[in-house]
């Protein structure tokens, strides 16, 4: 079943809360425009962790993705929306 952008956003927030270590409020209130590094404070290893969590949760396989391909939450949602089963 294809998920809507809102559903993807909600699941992505769950992932970030699980991965983020105590920044629940920041992740709960983030928007598509939130910058993963500047606004959400994700480090490069945090980004790797989230990308892997997205693979596991949404059952997609990232291909050809670089460290800087995802700047905002929107970039991640766009990728998931395009590649979901």
């Amino acid at each position: 079943m294809q998920l809507t952008r809102d559903e993807i956003m909600e699941r992505l927030k769950d992932i970030m809360i699980s991965a983020g270590g105590g920044n629940e409020q920041i992740y709960r209130e983030c928007t598509e425009d939130s910058d993963l590094s500047a606004d959400l404070g994700l480090s490069s290893i945090g980004m790797l962790y989230i990308v892997i969590a997205v693979e596991e949760t949404f059952r997609i396989r990232f291909t050809g993705v670089g460290m800087s391909d995802f700047r905002t939450v929107k970039d991640v949602i766009d990728y998931i929306e395009e590649h979901q089963e």
Binding site: M1, E7, E10, R11, D14, S18, A19, S43, S44, I45, G46, L48, Y49, V51, I52, A53, E55, E56, T57, F58, R59, R61, F62, T63, G64, V65, G66, M67, S68, D69
Partner: protein, 349 residues
């Protein structure tokens, strides 16, 4: 494999910690380190687009940090490709593309040059950490008066549902299984057809990939999924009062432990129901054939009782060692959504 800040030799795998991730390469000499993309954060790395296997000096590779060299144990040393062959392989791949942060990064490249297979411990560690994170998610749904009972997986459950003579009970049994599918999908990304669901001799459904518990009562279905044993129970307060409102004291005598009988004021049906759901959730988290509520202490740190503002009129309890990670969701029209919940104490209505 251990890592030491020792002098690398030709064909050694080396790494440097840049921020929170390691950058890997194959050392050839002081002027030649072969790596998949230049070190992240450098001008040459740019935005990380179209990265290729490249050569930099060891000084550039280090970015001013300490270079660590892989020290192989005896087993690894036997399995490794010779240092000279490693160096040749690394040099022959300069200019190669196809970089991928997760599946083909600088660590995969360096590991492949030394051992002949791609591997990234950073990827493995992150995946392991994600898959072992504490999970205890509860899903709640109102069962409508009209449920179109379809087929479910596995066939044994499907047969059990089809054989249920009572129409309403058949609908509830079907619906709670549908809810389980939604729960597995949302919490773990699992599809029902890839789970080895089976019925134990105690009448409890289990699968090897995750723990779960089901309950349905008077128009409510609830499911708990976790990566540790879990139990869930829900009861309708109105239905309980109608059926047992006059027998509260007798019921309390039968279901409460001695300590709980001292604690319970003897008149509040909701409080008694809270005790009951807690005990049943504890029992359901275990694989035991018989339930002895009068011997089951409900006041455990791993049990939470709750009410959902979105679905009033029910008391639910969930028990599991990952209770600190408790999250609640509602399920409506095939969609799940995060739900607020109010925790209530044992014995407090």
């Amino acid at each position: 494999m251990k890592w030491w800040p020792s002098e690398p030799r030709r064909g050694d795998m080396i790494r440097v910690l840049l921020g929170s991730v390691y950058h890997y390469g194959i050392f050839i000499d002081e002027d030649t380190v072969v790596q998949f993309g230049p070190p992240p954060g450098t001008e040459e790395y740019g935005k990380g687009k179209d990265l290729k296997v490249c050569i930099t000096s060891a000084d550039f590779f280090s970015c001013g940090k300490i270079i660590e060299t892989a020290v192989l144990d005896k087993k690894e040393a036997r399995k490794r490709i010779s240092p000279e062959k490693t160096a040749e392989t690394a040099l022959s791949r300069v200019g190669e593309g196809g970089y991928d942060l997760i599946h083909n990064n600088c660590e995969h490249f360096a590991y492949e040059c030394v051992f002949g297979v791609k591997r990234s411990t950073q990827e493995e560690d992150a995946r392991k950490r994600w898959n072992s994170r504490p999970v205890l998610d509860c899903y709640f749904a109102v069962i409508s008066d009209r449920v179109d009972v379809g087929h479910v997986i596995p066939p044994a459950r499907d047969e059990l549902i089809a054989a249920t003579a009572n129409e309403r009970l058949r609908a509830e049994r079907y619906f709670v299984w549908e809810l389980l599918g939604a729960a597995f999908s949302r919490s773990f990304g699992y599809r029902m057809d890839e789970l080895d669901l089976k019925l134990t001799s105690c009448g409890k459904w289990v699968c090897s990939k995750a723990e779960f518990s089901l309950t349905h009562t008077d128009g409510l279905a609830a499911v708990a999924v976790s990566n540790a044993p879990v139990g869930i129970d829900a009861e309708c307060t109105r239905s309980f009062s109608e059926k047992h409102g006059g027998d509260i004291a007798a019921l309390a005598d039968k279901m409460l432990t001695r300590r709980e009988r001292r604690e319970y004021d003897g008149s509040d049906p909701e409080a008694l129901l809270t005790y009951w759901t807690r005990k049943e959730s504890i029992f359901k988290s275990l694989v035991k054939p018989s339930f002895r509520p009068e011997r089951t202490e409900s006041d455990t740190k791993n049990t939470v009782s709750l009410k959902l503002p979105d679905i009033p009129g029910y008391i639910m309890s969930v028990h599991g060692s990952e209770i600190g990670a408790l999250r609640c969701y509602t399920y409506r029209d095939g969609k799940t959504a995060a739900a607020d919940f109010e925790k209530i104490g044992a014995g407090v209505g």
